[in-house]
Symmetry: C2
Amino acid sequence: LSLRVEIIVIGNELLNGDLADTNTARLGGWLRKRGLGVTRGQTVPDDEAMVAEAFATAASRSDLVLVSGGMGPTEDDLTMSAAARFAGVALAEDTVFLERLKRRFEKRGYPFTPNNARQALIPAGADALHNPVGTAPCVRLVQGEATFFFFPGVPRELTALIDLYLEPWLTERAAARPYISATFLTFGKTESQVASLLDGLTRDARMHVAYRAHFPQIQVTLHVFDADADAARALLDDAAAHVRSALSSVVFSEDGGATFAAALGARLVAADSTLATAESCTGGLVAKLCTDIPGSSAWFLEGAVTYSNAAKSSRLGVPPELIVEDGAVSESVARAMAEGIRRTARSTYGVGITGIAGPGGGTEGKPVGTVHMAVAGPDGTQHFKRTLPFDRNRNRVVSAFMAMDMVRRALDGAR
Amino acid sequence: LSLRVEIIVIGNELLNGDLADTNTARLGGWLRKRGLGVTRGQTVPDDEAMVAEAFATAASRSDLVLVSGGMGPTEDDLTMSAAARFAGVALAEDTVFLERLKRRFEKRGYPFTPNNARQALIPAGADALHNPVGTAPCVRLVQGEATFFFFPGVPRELTALIDLYLEPWLTERAAARPYISATFLTFGKTESQVASLLDGLTRDARMHVAYRAHFPQIQVTLHVFDADADAARALLDDAAAHVRSALSSVVFSEDGGATFAAALGARLVAADSTLATAESCTGGLVAKLCTDIPGSSAWFLEGAVTYSNAAKSSRLGVPPELIVEDGAVSESVARAMAEGIRRTARSTYGVGITGIAGPGGGTEGKPVGTVHMAVAGPDGTQHFKRTLPFDRNRNRVVSAFMAMDMVRRALDGAR
């Protein structure tokens, strides 16, 4: 009953370090959302005999074989000739496809070369499926018990074509199983800390809990499969409620709805509040993350990247003597930066960040990774200090997230 | 003579969409630098029988089999039991490894559980290789003509262990072929434009030219294999000189030595010049890219993220009537921003960027993607306008790169 699915990705570039294959994960994720697992994967170089052999192996052990790559116009693209060899048939010109291809080139004023005409050659007896998003063909071939789909390797085309052709094929065979899921994004705990907070989650054979790190965030996904849609929903709702309560302090987004900055922005808007930032070691990263969000002009007023001491004083009014006495990386300077940007930008909240991201610049008293963060708001100024253990890039990213998290907590306190 | 190399990556997460495999590309790139190709790849789920079968298939057709994943302490980690099954031997406790593991846990004050002890079980007759960077074992097993290396799936550990154990193994067999390469990073042309600029490059069977897009940059790598080291060097030097001359206007870095911002920083330092930025639509991205570079405080003075019109006027002295008359996204405002930040930050060069990154905010006269960039310097102010066709994120990234490129060209002009 259960469909045995195999994925074959083709291309020298996948085996020589030029490109990491993402199509296996793309197809695997797409299939999981339809309740289907993938049994095996093969990666094969641009060699006709080896590709044909991989097809034969797959046909002997799988019901559905999804192939990506090698469908382009150059001589290296030999997926179709390998398929013909495997099926023991000749290549035949698909005239409908050829005419469509010629018209497409004509319309755009591109010259139509013999190489382009090669793309209309598919194994005799196979079905050419119209590709509305590119020039490469999409082909289906049935061989014995196995059905092969051949897709171009370009992720954008692959994604469009599996929706167009694989989805109805599965539906027709009632091969897809009911599937629902819930996704939570967290910040502030490690993967193992998050996992142990969820120790009390019901064990159920119908549910799979997956953790995935998107530094510095941890994503938790609950996957539920049950032929009874109501039972699936009840199980997922129960589990999701448990996750929400167990991880309440660290979950900032559900179902991929918002980035950390977007979630913060939504809360600022809800509280009719605005933000301005004064950054030293993070160098504009908080401003960049905030302005990544369309519509952020509603809550993000401005940012100052005061890398030099002179800028800290002239832009934010940080007293030069404070910098001399306590150093640029200090609690007092972080507080003065947060208060200075809040005052001059006339924002509800002001963020100040100063630290030593590394790799150089550390001293005995202030090692690399030292970061002082402050948030100034209507209820005063909060300060937070950490010594981070990561490299320059990760120290900056974590600092930016921690500072945004401080604003979130200040908003919580203000309610 | 030539070694047949196969890669096997193990883990459900690689087939269900949770994680895209990067280890195949990592191993493939490492091997290519040693003149070796990879013949095949397999992706196998956490299933002992299937993993054992994959090992048997690989042993029948390859000389060297590199396996990653399934070496952890949990019940899902069954690479070692599958290897024992494949080799027809029992699992045996490696007492040296077990003692080392126990000491490691003791030293860190972690409890040592039966699961941890499982990690010391390896197939009888296999060699345990000390892993100095983690708790998972690294194991070598010879079976018939094939040699297997089993590595943990964690990229950091894998990378360290192939240097430690695979490198000497290849050297001992004189399996590695002489290999040299040169890498060029470009900005300002598409991949096909770069490729056609290099049409005149010598075709030589000993040289492979690879293109790789790191949006918005295109990387060109020349790979040369020749047993005669002098001949290889001569071929590479000739080809590299050709690339340098054909792509002179767009190459900004050689041999991965510098990011775009780092290359700009080096040129600013060489010209004893400094930079300050005033960003609207890019929201701090230029400042972030500049301060990604360790030591950027030598040339990056400060950045202003003037998202609101009020901030453009108060921080940079952009006349409010200019914003009213020409609009915030206009040549005059971009120029005033660049000149304003240069004046107030007292930098050699000032950058101003204002645009509509999207997805909203476009009008008929100023569609989404419109961006005005200006660079103010000792020789006056240059302005540049583009209408970009990408999404919000890519529009911002390209704008940031184009603005940095304008500074580079201003420096060229000032020489």
